[in-house]
Subunit: 438 residues, 2 copies
């Protein structure tokens, strides 16, 4: 076993701070396979970031040589922290008697749930860089971690996600076509809260556009999109070109049955085959445990859920609530193409859906009467050309028979043709509003 | 952090055996987070299994309590082994100065590349059970590992494979329809050599049988199949029923283009759609790094390879050489249905292919002349009804134009109708034989 050079960050701001630090170093030196080579002097620093009121830290760094693997060394450090009285799991940024961080472990780069090497942002922390400089270490020679990974190559993307998976991380995937708006941002933020690592994909998928649709004109705003991803806590962004995504000779497609019939499936032949195929490919590449989709495209969610179950991907499909403008219009990347007049008129969709829901909540429950209510409101707006409105069962969006209903989801699509190009907008609303739905 | 009870197995058969064992225990007791509670006396035992000539072991067990996690404790044990002069990676069953094995870690069950808990077969080893009994330990109260896992539930199968993946294992998948013969066994043995864990699947897939084909009559020999899997070193066998494999409402299918045209694809409409769908589902569930297929079904291999690349599964497709009977007949689960006369006649397929190859190796290279040679040999056997013979490009099996060829693969299919039911047999042969092809 080859001995590896390790830089260790040390900190304490509770109890006998100097005693905790020196005690830990003495105990470390007694561990088989660990040598403590050099220790900086200790310096005081204040807590960085939010936290309860607490005293200053005493910080330093130490250089080790070890034959222990990184996980084993981490386990020993955690045992030392526990011996010093540190409780795990501890609330973030609470005072602690001992904090031992692996800053670097040779040249190793790893990104697991327990351990990220080199330590993220060590180079931004004065209480680390100061002691390192004191010991005469050339900081630029120590490995640093890059920021958000942006990859176009499918194999590189798969490798990144595999590393996370093999490192015990819960990986969340947020597939998008870019032109990111607050709806996408909310998907990413929800994913960042629920997962250890978040991968977003930005790919305008030619397979899901019909020959007369707006593939070429679909808005592409990559630089701004990457900023949105970074700010929302995304760890990697997959941005393939169509040639990278679909190699020459590509010919396998995933066809979904019932859920892809009717509504968008009727108006856009092969659209859902393209959606199911690209999502299957993303799931195969990234192998996420959770995937996040906006409920605005409710039929897409139903198709993806069915494909996921049928092909057996162990992925939890997480539908996320529609994010709306202040006036109620559902956020969509295509909203930018609306003329000013169409933009104002487009709120008729959500107004129509809400009006029908209000009738339902007041006791009206006949399917066709509720649909008629939606149509009547839409008819008040001559700029809106209704494609369809339907009332479907929640979840799988199966058709509901005529007559009384005890719930369901209203789905609507309409065209607005007053701008440079016609824009199709979708919206939907549950008859029984959830807590985060307005 | 809660302290966990651990049983440790100790052994040494090189150098100062007693010194290595007691030295390791003393060093262990000095590690933060480790207490040594009890140590058995040490006993001599001979090496179990194959290995070079060597002296007897000195063995014992020790009971620990630790706040170290299992990976950290393992790392410390490996550092102690290294300090005693043990070299890693070491050849299997060579003499060693120190051997420290985690037998149990509380009730933890884990199955990773580095660590399997409880230790497999500790309960079969007298040099472990003897010292445990000496300390008054009730052996039946200690956790043991079960043998090969046989699971029918897709989610349970996915969970097993995910544990391996998250534990750093290379997982190999061997999809079969059961009725296992030596061809299947060779797939499993190759997989066991190349992978840390092997999952075999036994599932007669209704999607890949046409309405007039032999789905109901396909041989099913589950108990014997499980024995074959165990003997070949398989770690888990997935044996779903059709209802477990395809839930009610199942409707998603994977359609493959070019590779599924012609030959079997022409004779068995939708056959390859069924194959691509079930393999995609198995890949999605098991997420293997490698998957093993017999080259006898060469077009199936081409279809699976295309589907895998197109959908982006990070799976290496490993085609394995055809295993033949002594008289050259390719092994097939359907051979059992041949009448005695048809069984004897069936060797005409490989004889015809080899005859054409011989011509090619002697300098004949016209595509149609080679095919004609195959047809001529098959025509000498009136029991054989030729379905097709084709000469295709290696790998993707693309069609070759008429005229001279510089290689390729001959593929043949024929029916033998002299038994209780007609049997279709496939075979194929490369014009340029590989080292393991006869």
């Amino acid at each position: 076993m080859v001995a590896v050079q390790v830089w260790l960050g040390l900190g304490s701001n509770l109890g006998d701070r100097r005693g905790h630090l020196t005690g830990a170093l003495t105990a470390l030196a007694a561990v088989p396979g660990v040598q403590v080579l050099r220790v900086s002097s200790f310096h005081e620093s204040e807590l960085l970031g939010e936290g309860p009121p607490q005293g200053p830290f005493l910080n330093g760094v130490a250089e080790l040589r070890t034959t222990l693997g990184p996980q084993a060394l981490l386990g020993v450090l955690q045992a030392l922290e526990a011996q010093a009285g540190r409780v795990r799991p501890a609330p973030r940024n609470h005072p602690r008697p001992l904090d031992l961080d692996l800053l670097t472990y040779g040249d190793l780069r790893c990104d697991t749930r327990e351990l990220v090497l080199p330590h993220p942002r060590w180079h931004e922390r004065p209480f680390v860089t100061g002691p390192l400089r004191e010991l005469g270490v050339a900081l630029e020679a120590l490995p640093q971690r890059p920021g958000v990974a942006v990859v176009g190559d499918p194999q590189a993307f798969a490798a990144q996600c595999t590393e996370w998976l093999a490192g015990g991380c819960v990986v969340g995937l947020v597939p998008t076509m870019g032109a990111l708006h607050d709806g996408h941002r909310s998907l990413m933020e929800i994913a960042a809260r629920e997962c250890d690592r978040v991968a977003a994909t930005i790919f305008v998928n030619p397979l899901q556009f019909g020959p007369n649709e707006d593939f070429a004109a679909y808005p592409r705003t990559l630089e701004r999109d990457l900023e949105v991803c970074r700010a929302a806590g995304v760890h990697a962004v997959f941005t393939p070109t169509p040639e990278q995504m679909y190699e020459p000779g590509f010919c396998s497609q995933v066809q979904v049955g019932a859920e892809a019939q009717g509504m968008e499936g009727a108006l856009r032949p092969d659209h859902f085959r393209g959606v199911a195929t690209v999502v299957a490919r993303l799931f195969a590449l990234a192998r996420p445990q959770r995937a996040y989709f906006g409920e605005k495209d409710a039929q897409q969610v139903a198709v993806v859920r069915r494909m996921t179950r049928d092909l057996g991907f162990p992925v939890q499909i997480v539908p996320c609530p529609i994010v709306r403008e202040a006036d109620g219009l559902a956020r969509s990347s295509r909203n930018v193409y609306l003329s000013a007049e169409d933009r104002a008129a487009a709120t008729v969709l959500v107004r129509a859906l809400r009006s029908a829901r209000q009738q339902f909540l007041r006791g009206a429950c006949d399917r066709d009467a509720l649909l008629q209510r939606v149509r009547a409101v839409v008819a008040t707006e001559p700029r809106a050309q209704l494609d369809y409105v339907e009332l479907r069962r929640e979840g799988d969006l199966a058709e509901l028979p005529p007559g009384p209903v005890d719930g369901g989801r209203l789905l609507i699509a309409a065209k607005f043709a007053g701008g440079l190009r016609p824009v199709r907008l979708l919206d939907n609303l549950s008859l029984r509003p959830g807590p985060d739905e307005a």
